[in-house]
């Protein structure tokens, strides 16, 4: 809840090759990455996918320390997951017996596989948000899903809702920080180790936050109407997306890349 803390996947301004790609080509590439990472089932295919993630990280020119700090909370989850796989899988030859714990070979294999799959997945998809402005991302999504408009899916409205939500995250964080400070000045204790008093201390924070959010929503709706917003029908855009050579190259490159994955995996 600290606005000054960088969180995972928060847009990191830059002018690298990855930053300049069209959000749509990035979205498509990442979508297939997220699906296909689960097809990587041996060392070679896992390294193949991992190389892409690390290559992407280097190409994005985002300081590794920033990404590391963002990923830190994930490491606990990954460690927990790995332990569960090691202790709960009961297949293959026994590697270790200790008390009533038995570790099987398949368990270790699964643990390594699942951990690295998830790690690369999170790393790669966070690169998408690290290098793409949230507004470009939602616009890209809207464009990709625009064929669904024919089936009466309110794509435009959904993407507008997403933009608004994203737009107000920093505002809300700032507001939270402000109210938190104001209540701390009045003696509120947000750092107490006592869980009960910590939950109670959330009330002075949440009530003003809710009130101001509703006020803000109302004002926003009015401001939009005042500026002529009448729904997505016939709305034109100031910002336009354009697919460049690099984008088509990335999409074309995706075919041999994922074909390589399927060649490397064991069937």
């Amino acid at each position: 809840m600290n606005a000054s803390q960088l969180s995972i996947g928060q847009y990191y301004p830059g002018r690298s090759w990855l930053h300049r790609l069209d959000p749509r080509s990035k979205l498509i590439f990442v979508f297939f990455y997220v699906v296909f990472i689960f097809f990587a089932n041996n060392a070679a295919s896992l390294c193949w996918m991992g190389a892409a993630a690390i290559g992407g990280l280097l190409a994005s020119r985002i300081p590794v320390s920033i990404v590391y700090r963002g990923l830190k909370p994930i490491f606990w989850l990954l460690a927990l997951l790995a332990l569960m796989h090691i202790f709960l899988t009961q297949e293959g030859p026994v590697l270790l017996r200790w008390g009533w714990f038995t570790v099987y070979e398949e368990g270790v294999r699964q643990a390594v596989l699942v951990t690295f799959r998830l790690f690369f997945l999170i790393l790669f998809s966070s690169l998408l948000t690290y290098t793409t402005r949230p507004m470009d991302l939602t616009f890209g999504l809207e464009k990709l899903f625009s064929p669904l408009k024919r089936f009466r899916v309110p794509v435009g409205e959904l993407s507008l809702m997403m933009s608004i939500a994203l737009r107000f995250i920093p505002t809300l964080l700032e507001e939270t920080d402000k109210i938190k400070k104001a209540q701390m000045a009045r003696g509120a204790d947000f750092e107490s180790r006592n869980l009960a008093s910590r939950i109670r201390s959330l009330l002075p924070l949440l009530v003003p936050l809710f009130v101001s959010s509703f006020q803000r929503a109302e004002e926003l709706a009015m401001a939009m109407e005042a500026r002529g917003y009448r729904g997505e029908e016939g709305r034109t855009r100031y910002r336009r997306l354009s697919m460049g050579t690099a984008d088509w190259l990335l999409l074309l490159g995706a075919i041999p890349f994922y074909a390589g994955l399927f060649l490397l995996r064991t069937w």
Binding site: P13, I66, A182, A185, G187, A188, P208, V211
Partner: protein, 286 residues
């Protein structure tokens, strides 16, 4: 309580590309029992500076001393300090959250763990100081008018019986009457209760009228400190900080270009009125 600031530097989000130096090597001395106004353009670091005074922010470098408490870049428990140094943020009515005004004002004292009797007493005292009426107490804070809500928020801070009161733009967004009431209240707290008052403001008129000491800030640095007379004598510095003289002084300057014997540069309407009346009495209406 005296506040001494020594080579204070504050950097937001240090070590990232978002790093921003908000305060740079600030040195300042605020005497006990004084009324100090901190003036400066938007983004000059005023708010960041005052948030150090009760330990809400910690210096990136340098130290502060508030009374006997030292605030250093290292972590320490500063909750005791927050009782001594009351902080009223911009638009403090946004912090109201309880069901009734009375409960909200009692929040601070209760957090301090004071006995019920003392809490009741402090609340009653604070309510009297800010001039809220009895019937306001049982209402929801959201049922009050803007000016009343601000006074309720102010009472919430006063109920903690601080020795120092810091106010960040206390009159922002109020109508002229609300402004006058709040400023008169501060003046009274200073005079009668002997509180040290530190007010962040854009209004040079308010600064001229109420403050004993002025601190002019620009780009995270203190350009000038001194009495209003000393500060307003340095118009060049004020202009560099993006500020102007108070309205009466600007009026006198414009008028002086047409007068044979110029008027002295006076900072408040009342002083100017007295001066002009005295002169007219001496020389007769012509």
């Amino acid at each position: 309580m005296e506040i001494v600031v020594q080579s204070l530097t504050h950097i937001y989000q240090p070590g990232t590309i978002f790093a921003r130096t908000a305060l740079k090597d600030v040195n300042l001395n605020i005497p006990s029992g004084s009324f100090t106004a901190i003036v400066g353009h938007t983004g000059s670091g005023k708010s960041t500076l005052v948030q150090h005074f009760n330990g809400l922010l910690r210096p990136t470098e340098g130290t502060l001393r508030v009374g006997t408490v030292e605030i250093t870049p290292r972590k320490s428990d500063l909750r005791a300090l927050r009782q001594m140094v009351g902080m009223v943020f911009q638009y403090p009515e946004h912090q109201l959250f309880e069901e009734t005004v009375e409960k909200d004002i009692a929040f601070g004292p209760k957090q301090l763990g004071w006995p019920d009797e003392l809490v009741r007493q402090s609340v009653a005292e604070a309510v009297r100081m800010v001039g809220l009426k009895k019937e306001h107490l049982s209402r929801s804070p959201y049922a009050l008018s803007g000016g009343e809500r601000r006074r309720a928020a102010l009472a919430g801070v006063l109920a903690m019986r601080p020795k120092v009161l810091i106010l960040d733009e206390p009159t922002a967004g109020l109508d002229p009457r609300g402004r006058r009431e709040i400023l008169a209240l501060l003046e009274r707290l200073h005079r009668e209760e002997g509180m040290t008052i530190i007010m962040v403001t854009h209004s040079m008129e308010d600064a001229a009228r109420y403050a004993q000491q002025l601190v002019v800030m620009k780009d995270g640095q203190v350009l000038l400190t001194g009495t209003p007379q000393e500060v307003f004598a340095r118009e060049d510095v004020l202009n560099a900080a993006g500020l102007a003289l108070p309205e009466p002084a600007r009026f006198v300057k414009a008028l002086n270009s047409r007068l044979e014997r110029p008027l002295p540069l006076l900072m408040t309407v009342e002083a100017l009125e007295r001066e002009i009346v005295a002169r007219l009495a001496r020389e007769g209406m012509r």
